[in-house]
């Protein structure tokens, strides 16, 4: 065990090194840049034995990683915001090809106007592609989950690519003490790479030509859907094995913080879950409110079962989204509503859209939203409004 102060970007670069990736390809974009710089440095100094393909665009970055992974090696890329949107076509292609790769997405607002600060619009835009999507709360989790994603994506029950998400600057450029696991423990955790097929000379395999029967094409999407469902168990197994070897456990797809006797819940993803923890502590300590927090660690596969389990006997839930689907609301809000409806759980649900475009939301802000929400529910038995655009600092 080695404790180092690392930025989120360096933590993820270190994870890629620990996973012994053989090909890295990326195109720089703020705030992902220092991750690529670090990996280039590791490769040039010989610290990481890998090929670096310094491409001319993000579309090409994922294309190169896809080519390398199709050729049989572990490959890694990273991007943000417009870079991720430019890659979007390739995300579909990689998932449809069932080729495991891992990508880091440092979440950043989408323009216009130009804006480098965090929100989750970029990664939420990828939710239907067939990629696993994990969110990190802190730099330690960013490192751990990146390594884990290699194991999860290369599991034959899954064989889908995966994204590790970390918030711009809040994680990417902020240093925290990070425990770097021993290489031999990571080697024990990560078996040799497995994938459904490998392209090589002399083996006339064809991927992606026109299907004779369109039903096969539809079945392919169904199989991705099922693989995503199967991934839930694989994620939990990886979490347990990681705990056994490394000593850290995150709870699989979700974590429920101070939920034992909670009546009112907050739900969130990403770095501001840290602020939500503080808000929960504050509300409990100062106001004796029985508030709990559901941290969604994986947005895909979506932990519907966990959500139902945690909220089955809840009095109310407030969902915080850092992105919005106009006219519908936050993507997380919609998933929570759908999960509860599927189980017939009828409780007041409020969707709070906040922190878009990097607008700062403090734990006091989060606590004030919860105070108002809880008093509404206790007074009226429901929320005054289901959607709240919250700008903070009030």
């Amino acid at each position: 065990m080695v404790l180092k102060t690392l930025t989120g970007n360096y933590a993820v670069a270190t994870a890629a090194k620990l996973a012994r990736v053989k090909v890295v390809s990326a195109y720089p974009i703020t705030p992902q840049t220092t991750m690529v710089e670090k990996l280039s440095e590791m490769i040039e100094s010989g610290e990481l034995e890998a090929e670096m393909i310094r491409v001319e665009s993000e579309h090409s970055a994922l294309a190169a990683v896809y080519g390398a992974a199709s050729g049989g090696v572990r490959a890694f890329t990273a991007t943000s915001s417009h870079g991720l949107l430019y890659m979007h076509e390739m995300l579909w292609w990689v998932a449809g090809s069932r080729i495991p790769v891992v990508m880091a997405v440092v979440t950043r607002t989408i323009g216009p106007p130009w804006n480098i600060w965090t929100d989750h619009s970029d990664v939420m835009d990828q939710r239907d592609t067939g990629w696993l999507i994990a969110f990190a709360e802190n730099n330690q989790e960013a490192l751990d989950e990146t390594v884990k994603l290699f194991r999860i994506t290369e599991d034959e029950r899954v064989f889908l690519p995966g994204i590790i998400t970390l918030d711009a600057f809040i994680l990417s450029h902020t240093t925290e003490p990070v425990d770097i696991p021993d290489q031999n423990l990571v080697d024990a955790f990560l078996p040799p790479r497995k994938q459904p097929y490998v392209f090589k000379a002399g083996d006339p395999l064809i991927m992606g030509n026109i299907p004779r029967d369109l039903k096969w094409n539809m079945m392919m999407r169904e199989d991705i859907h099922k693989a995503m469902e199967r991934a839930k168990k694989v994620i939990e197994e990886a979490d347990s094995l990681w705990e056994k070897l490394i000593g850290r456990k995150y709870g699989g797809l979700t974590e429920c913080y101070r939920c034992e006797d909670a009546k009112h819940f907050m739900v969130g993803v990403g770095a501001w879950v840290g602020d939500m923890r503080e808000a929960v502590d504050y509300l409990r300590d100062k106001f004796s409110l029985r508030v709990g927090l559901i941290k969604i660690r994986y947005f895909r596969p979506f932990p519907k079962e966990d959500v139902i389990k945690w909220l089955n006997n809840a009095s109310s839930v407030v969902v915080f989204d850092r992105s919005v689907s106009p006219s519908v609301g936050g993507p997380l809000y919609v998933e929570i509503l759908a999960s509860l409806a599927s189980a017939g759980v009828r409780i007041p649900v409020k969707g709070v859209i906040a922190g878009l475009a990097g607008v700062d939301v403090t734990h006091e802000d989060l606590a004030s939203v919860m105070l108002t929400s809880v008093s509404e529910v206790e007074e009226l038995g429901t929320f005054k409004q289901n959607t709240l655009w919250f700008y903070g600092g009030e």
Binding site: I53, A63, A68, G72, V73, F199, G202, M207
Partner: protein, 296 residues
């Protein structure tokens, strides 16, 4: 190394039952790729006619390993694949087989990037001078005056000189080829496969459907392009340009057949004016003059 027909391998890589149109030059080209590279070839193919020609999954009319990919990604996918083979110590010749759209237009940034990085890939541009798979729309490789379904009165612009643009990337190997000259093409492919780094081969591929000629005459039209000086076969190793044997006689303008002979075989030039014909002749002269300067 000189190639003779009798020494070419008999193994077939283009099988009966594929979905090519009659007289398809792409199928011819793919056969030559099989003859030149055999089992060492791994193909990366963006959207285009060859996406269809391979036939319907799970079957295939082509016996190469083929990774079908989105338009603008092929050279990057190939670069990644080639890196993987290098890391794993496997022998493979990674070939991008792309049309003029996938090469010169939508695929150009990716092509240019891979060339500048000198990735270990052979890029073959199968140039049928328009977006044929979507129904004969103009490309940057469509010549001046040609009818397409987006240039009903004839294209107003000149064909972009892609081989020279690739030459200026200072890659180790650039060549032009034609489906009418298989030995020349096969020799170039074999040479390219011995060179590490980025290799670019621009294969002229007259399309009976898009150019409006009888499918029996694909080779005749392709040969006339060379004999009239409208398509020049050359190669450049490390930037040193040399005119290839089939084109050599036509460095002398007096030995070239009239350009009209080439154009009159093609329905796409049916409404050609004298003015456009003269302009096309002038462009051929300019192309020759520039290449001859580069080859001295």
């Amino acid at each position: 190394m000189p190639v003779s027909i009798k020494d070419l391998p008999k193994e077939k890589f283009v099988l009966p039952g594929d979905a090519a149109c009659p007289g398809c030059p792409e199928n011819m080209g793919l056969r030559f790729v099989g003859m030149a590279l055999g089992n060492r070839a791994v193909l990366v193919i963006p959207a285009g006619c060859t996406s269809v020609i391979q036939g319907l999954a799970p079957g295939s009319g082509l016996k190469f390993p083929i990774l079908n990919v989105p338009f603008a990604s092929s050279d990057s996918v190939a670069a990644g694949l080639s890196s993987a083979k290098k890391v794993l110590g496997e022998d493979a010749v990674v070939v991008v087989w792309a049309g003029d759209g996938g090469t010169a237009d939508i695929g150009f940034a990716t092509l240019s990037g891979a060339a500048e990085r000198n990735d270990d890939v052979i890029h073959i541009c199968v140039d049928n001078e328009a977006y044929m798979n979507t129904g004969i729309q103009r490309s940057s490789q469509t010549p001046l005056g040609a009818w397409t379904t987006t240039t009903w009165s004839g294209k107003k612009e000149r064909k972009k000189d892609l081989p020279l643009i690739m030459l200026m990337h200072r890659v180790p190997y650039v060549a032009t080829a034609s489906v009418a000259y298989p030995i020349d093409f096969i020799e170039k492919l074999r040479k390219a496969s011995t060179i590490r780094g980025f290799k670019y081969i621009h294969l002229h591929a007259p399309c009976p459907v898009g150019w409006r000629f009888d499918p029996a005459y694909t080779v005749a039209v392709a040969r006339l392009a060379v004999e009239t000086g409208m398509w020049i076969l050359f190669e450049a190793e490390n930037g040193r340009v040399s005119i290839s044997p089939p084109s050599k006689p036509y460095a002398d303008k007096s030995r070239r057949k009239p350009v009209r002979e080439y154009l009159s075989m093609q329905g796409r030039f049916r409404n050609l004016t004298e003015e456009v014909l003269r302009e096309l002749e002038k462009q051929a002269d300019e192309n020759w003059s520039l290449l001859l300067k580069l080859s001295t």
